[in-house]
Symmetry: C2
Subunit: 353 residues, 2 copies
């Protein structure tokens, strides 16, 4: 009833990731078995591996930006067949019955969605293990079709970094002529630029370093604004309908709120915690501005994002690594030393004797 | 070219209000001269009189909840004639050409709207003096028609407290079946309850005191939730599509954000300043919640609010005072000792020899 699986995982917050053997369930009627080709490396993987958020369950196999090929399907599976190129993102299940799930907002499932790793399977109570592994078994309703023509390695980060930025861009109705700014040029930020540009927006990158300009423009930004330059910040006042703030630690939002247009929203997609320094409500009240949060996206929305990326030829800029380099990759990510996403070539795991 | 006017005003932050003589301009072609009958007393009047916000200009005549009768009109005035019952709110002018003004958002005018008092007239650079006076001269485009059938004293607070709560209720699309909560039961809060109820919403008052329940229900609340009762707060989790927060000082928003429904917004209408304690973004990111601000409303929206109040028979609950009691009224407001708005009967000013 189970199949041996190999992965890179960890047994404790203080341990590096290493080879880990476990078992995956055999497919249920509606399950798809996926032979993993590539898995993106998200900051969340570091946080969970090291129990930064105090909710880690060990042993843990991280990874929720999964691209692979279907190797087997349960007897009730209608949407996939062996050989299909598919993706799995941050969720592998949800209650499917609450109001949020009914709206296609599985990420906001009222009883909590089942995360791809560090979660608990809703049917048998076993832990979920992520994509730093040779295969994964996922219910078909949470499996995405990967569009033709996209490099599958570059497409892997779309499953988290892509949808996390696409969802607020769509929710706040970005389209041709919208003025969008992005804070932070990392895995999420570089996707936000590409996606906003493809939606027709005028895109600005806020950055502390003028050295990022060439890269920002190559990714699609129309301009950069140096957040440390008071004159540039004043010139940007009341300008942006939406700011996608991807910074994953506490930072001064009071720099950016004044650059929102009247009625605009700054949406946090990377930081959970107390806003420090304190958020000043003055500019918010005086021009009906908002600060909001957003979490990944729903399943149908993720499929729409993948289809959009297929149409526009959008993938992440990735640096491929063998799984043996994952611990070093984590250290480099903590130094922001990656352009812009590590992706694990899972052939490296399969090659281990 | 000017007409003598009498008012209650102040010459310094530390002085009480007292009788003040000045002149109003004679009407320009598009001006309406209004004989003031009633003027509501807003917390802002205290803040400006005492220079709490550091932007006071003296001498100052407060008052921006004005109801009166037209006594004279300029030759180009088409919308009003002598005898009409009219209102004036927080603004008497704006640039009328910027994008915000074009959308009817004069309160968010890009060059700053001209406030009814403590402002500067856009044409002649003279100070604006407010409604604690016998008459006022206002361009017709910033004069509102008061609906038939409403008590004019009770209607005066609609011009600020009414529109300040109506605008976010409309902007965030409250309607039949919406779940709305209100924080703070004062001048703004009691209007928010009445207006949300009339729009068909299910209305909840957050309060620290069970003693407010009877009054809250009389005003239209369906229930109260005691914000100091952890069980009640947990039971209210993820419930409200919109929270209108009228509290005029720093307070803990982390109590209320968890009670927003997924996608919901807490809108601050009474507090400008740093959020203390720090706002935690966790519940915002995990369920796409927002914290926003909102400022009064536009002129067309204010007229729509007045018409709505006329249809539904909505006025503020007021305590009438003669102008001689204004300083005592300020002290009582600072102790929250008013249900729910002081309104000055301007006959008391005219009776002064």
């Amino acid at each position: 009833m189970t199949t041996p699986a190999r992965a890179f995982g960890t047994h404790a917050a203080t341990q590096p990731l290493g080879l880990f053997h476990f078992v995956r369930r055999d497919p249920r009627a509606d399950d798809v078995v996926i032979d993993i080709l590539f898995c993106g490396v998200c900051h969340t993987d570091i946080h969970h591996s090291r129990d930064d958020w105090g909710r880690a369950n060990y042993p843990m196999v991280p990874g929720h930006e999964i691209v692979g090929r279907v190797s087997r399907v349960g007897e009730a599976v209608t949407r996939f067949q062996p050989g299909d190129l598919v993706g799995v993102g941050c969720m592998v299940d949800s209650c499917r019955t609450c109001a949020a799930c009914g709206k296609g907002w599985e990420q906001y499932c009222e009883s909590g969605s089942t995360f791809t790793y560090n979660g608990v399977d809703r049917q048998d109570g076993t832990p979920t293990y992520g994509g730093y592994s040779d295969h994964v078994v996922v219910a078909q309703d949470f499996v995405l079709k990967m569009p033709e023509g996209l490099d599958p390695a570059g497409a892997a980060p779309l499953l988290c970094a892509g949808i996390t930025t696409y969802s607020p861009l769509r929710h706040w109705q970005v389209g041709p002529g919208s003025r969008v700014a992005v804070v932070g040029l990392g895995g999420l930020g570089h996707m936000a630029i590409k996606l906003a540009k493809a939606m027709g927006a005028e895109v600005t990158l806020f950055t502390r370093s003028a050295s990022k300009e060439a890269d920002a423009r190559r990714l699609g930004a129309d301009q950069i604004v140096l957040s440390g330059d008071a004159e540039q910040m004043i010139a940007a006042a009341n300008r942006f309908e939406l700011i996608i703030d991807t910074v994953p630690y506490a930072h001064d939002l009071n720099l950016y709120v004044p650059t929102l247009a009247t009625g605009g929203t700054l949406v946090l997609v990377g930081f959970l915690g107390p806003i420090d320094p304190a958020l000043n409500t003055g500019p918010m009240v005086l021009r009906r501005k908002a600060v909001a949060g957003s979490l990944i996206g729903g399943i149908a929305e993720t499929q729409a994002m993948l289809d959009f990326c297929g149409q526009h030829g959008i993938t992440a800029d990735v640096e491929m690594i063998p799984i043996q380099q994952i611990n070093e990759a984590y250290e480099r990510m903590l130094r922001s030393d990656v352009k812009y996403r590590f992706v694990i070539d899972m052939a490296s795991l399969k090659a281990i004797a």
